[in-house]
Amino acid sequence: MEQLFFYIFAFAAVISAILVISVRNPVHSAFFLIVTFMQVAAIFILLRSPFLAAVQVFVYVGAVMVLFLFAVLVLDMGKETMKEHLHGQSIPAGVMAVILFLLMCYMVVKGRIVANPGSYGEAALVNNTEVIGRELYTRFIYPFEIVSLILLVALVGAIALVMQSKGKEQGK
Amino acid sequence: MNEGKGRFDIMELIKKVLFTDFVKGLVITFGYNVSMDSVITVKYPDEEKWIPYRRFRGLHTLNRTADGRELCVACELCSKACPTRCITVIPMEDNTGRGISDRVAKVWKVDLVRCLFCGYCEDACPTRAVRLGREYELACFDRNCAVKNREELLRPQPVPEEMSGGVVAKARLRTTPDGIEVVADLSETRKRRV
């Protein structure tokens, strides 16, 4: 039963991911990206991590993609859809993609992707959120804080860049 | 927001934090919402009808003298004065005492689709035969019924001239073969709520 659902979600995710890069219209791409994210969230639920699924929907679908669409909507669609995006690099890009695919196939076949089961059993996963919270703020406190710091720097940097160009405009 | 005043107004801040302006507005609208007396709607076709003032310019009327003779002498001044040329007058000879003179109107009709109810015909009329009356339910289903002729306009008015109007009268909706009409009961009136 679970396998069946996994295959449904995985299939939909792969199909929509392919559509993201193959449709011409940027808004359609964005739409299929939303679909992909939703399928991934569904797979997270199958993996017994509802918190991650909710956050995936909340952050990626609810916020990031809205911003994305906001930017895409103000594009001039007529030009964007017609433009050739690869600028004559399609042959090398295709070759690289095939090589990457073969590489990944090799790793999947040869490598060991079965992760060690964690120290948490089925029972602990009921309180999924608490487990994640405790782990994040104890064992993974340094990576967590570093990630926060990087995000903060990016935020400040973005504002600084905008303010600089604004100041120049006013200086003129 | 308070830079202009130069000092920090603590009362303003408290008012903002407690949403006093919002609450004031909400109290007012809640008052309207719960009190049924404040409703100003005139329940027009079903229960009530607005009786206009005497100065109202509605459907034309053709008047008679006290002894029942037509005031219209078919001088055609109204049709000349009409800015939209909506009045047609065809005079004829008649010495039976139908009108106040020997010249009466054979045809006097007004095309309400074109009429703009300006009242120039009223002003032009030397005998005060044409008046704009208080009838305002003029909607109908085809263009022909928008042309009113002499016979119809000579009929007595549903609202008598003596009544000064400006009131809401009790009324009821009546379905007739020609359509629907709202019949007002002029004995029961009330002032309009403002």
């Binding site: 739409f31 918190f51 909710a54 909340f58 679908v61 309180n127 959120t129 | 409703v39 100003i40």
Partner: protein, 351 residues
């Protein structure tokens, strides 16, 4: 072969889903009537009057009209997204109700079964509702874009910017509630408020009312109602994102809006006003079935008050200007919620 208990659970879930869907589908009928009546009386008019006694059949007449109206698709519209957008607005509004409880488990006397008055008590309930509820925005954005009309596009753009600004404040308010009640599950949040009126999160002084104000203002903006209905601002955008929609597609957007209003009212009650708990700290020794009924009455009474509040506000307040909207979102609500978060954290540690 699954045993009888499993089958019964599955049947119960299916029945609950069907009932919930049917109730939600028919919700806009009374709500449109009530909204128009409230509008009428606030504006010293009568509101709907002629279709049925006191205009009670007006929603039915409206539905029939919408069903038979011509479904116009603009010539250069993006057919696929134009068709999909109303569904994308409506489905999340319904999906939210999967996690919304309307009561605790009740003992039904005749069949002697414990029935839970919720479809799923997720342990990430509040997060699920925020996440799924936020998806309704895509109907507006994509619908606005697909219409190929500048008014609709501007409505969609406004909506997306507004939603990003206020979702942050709402999420903070949700975090505040989670801190006050110590759980992400909505049922647990209600259970934590069962000691009378002063155990409600709203009276978690001094931060409770602040969290409620942040949540309420934010949710007004999220469900696009006056004073924050900039995406469909008829003064400047004719109808914003629904300008080009007609017939059933239009009614889907309306349905989504009303359902969102109901779900936000329910959320406000659950998160801040004790859900189905009565405001009195003591319990009278009622038989359990009566007590359950009383709980339902308390719950729906509170929800109705909030629905009325939304309508009341709609016909009292003017619309904000767009830059004011952004100022309220970014410069007032978000800093305020950060400070309140800090205070709440300290209070949890001390208290």
């Amino acid at each position: 072969m699954p045993d009888t208990a499993t089958i019964l659970t599955v049947i119960a879930i299916v029945v609950k889903v069907v009932i919930a869907t049917m109730v939600i589908f028919s919700l806009p009928l009374p709500l449109t009537w009530i909204e128009r009546k409230v509008a009428g009386h606030i504006q010293v008019r009568l509101g709907p009057w002629r279709v049925g006694p006191h205009g009670l059949l007006q929603p039915v007449a409206d539905t029939i009209k919408l069903l038979f109206k011509e479904d116009i698709v603009p010539a250069k519209a993006d057919k696929f997204l134009f068709w999909l957008a109303p569904l994308m607005a409506m489905v999340p509004a319904f999906a939210v109700f999967a996690a919304i409880p309307i009561g605790d488990t009740v003992m039904v006397p005749i069949i002697n079964q414990e029935i839970a008055l919720y479809i799923a008590d997720m342990n990430v309930g509040i997060l699920y509702i925020l996440a799924i509820g936020g998806l309704g925005i895509y109907g507006i954005i994509l619908g606005g874009w697909a219409s190929n009309s500048k008014y609709a596009l501007l409505g969609g753009l406004r909506s997306s910017a507004q939603m990003i600004s206020y979702e942050i404040a709402i999420s903070f308010a949700a975090i505040g509630v989670v801190m006050m009640s110590n759980s992400l599950s909505l049922v647990e949040i209600v259970r934590s408020q069962n000691h009378g009126i002063f155990s409600w999160n709203f009276f978690y002084l001094p931060v409770g009312p602040v969290w409620f104000a942040i949540f309420f203002i934010g949710s007004l903006a999220e469900i696009n109602r006056i004073p924050f209905d900039l995406p469909e601002d008829e003064g400047t955008l004719s109808s914003g994102y629904i300008t080009e929609y007609s017939g059933m597609k239009f009614s889907f957007f309306m349905l989504a809006e009303y359902v969102a209003m109901v779900s936000v009212s329910i959320l406000a009650v659950i998160m801040f006003f004790g859900g189905w708990n009565s405001p009195f700290p003591f319990t009278i020794g009622l038989p359990s079935i009566l007590a359950d009924l009383l709980a339902l009455i308390w719950f729906f009474g509170k929800v109705c008050f909030f629905i009325y509040l939304f309508m009341w506000l709609r016909f009292t307040l003017p619309r904000y200007r767009y830059d004011h909207l952004m100022v309220i979102g970014w410069k007032i609500l978000i800093p305020l919620s950060l400070v309140t978060l800090l205070v709440t954290g300290f209070m949890r540690i001390i208290g």
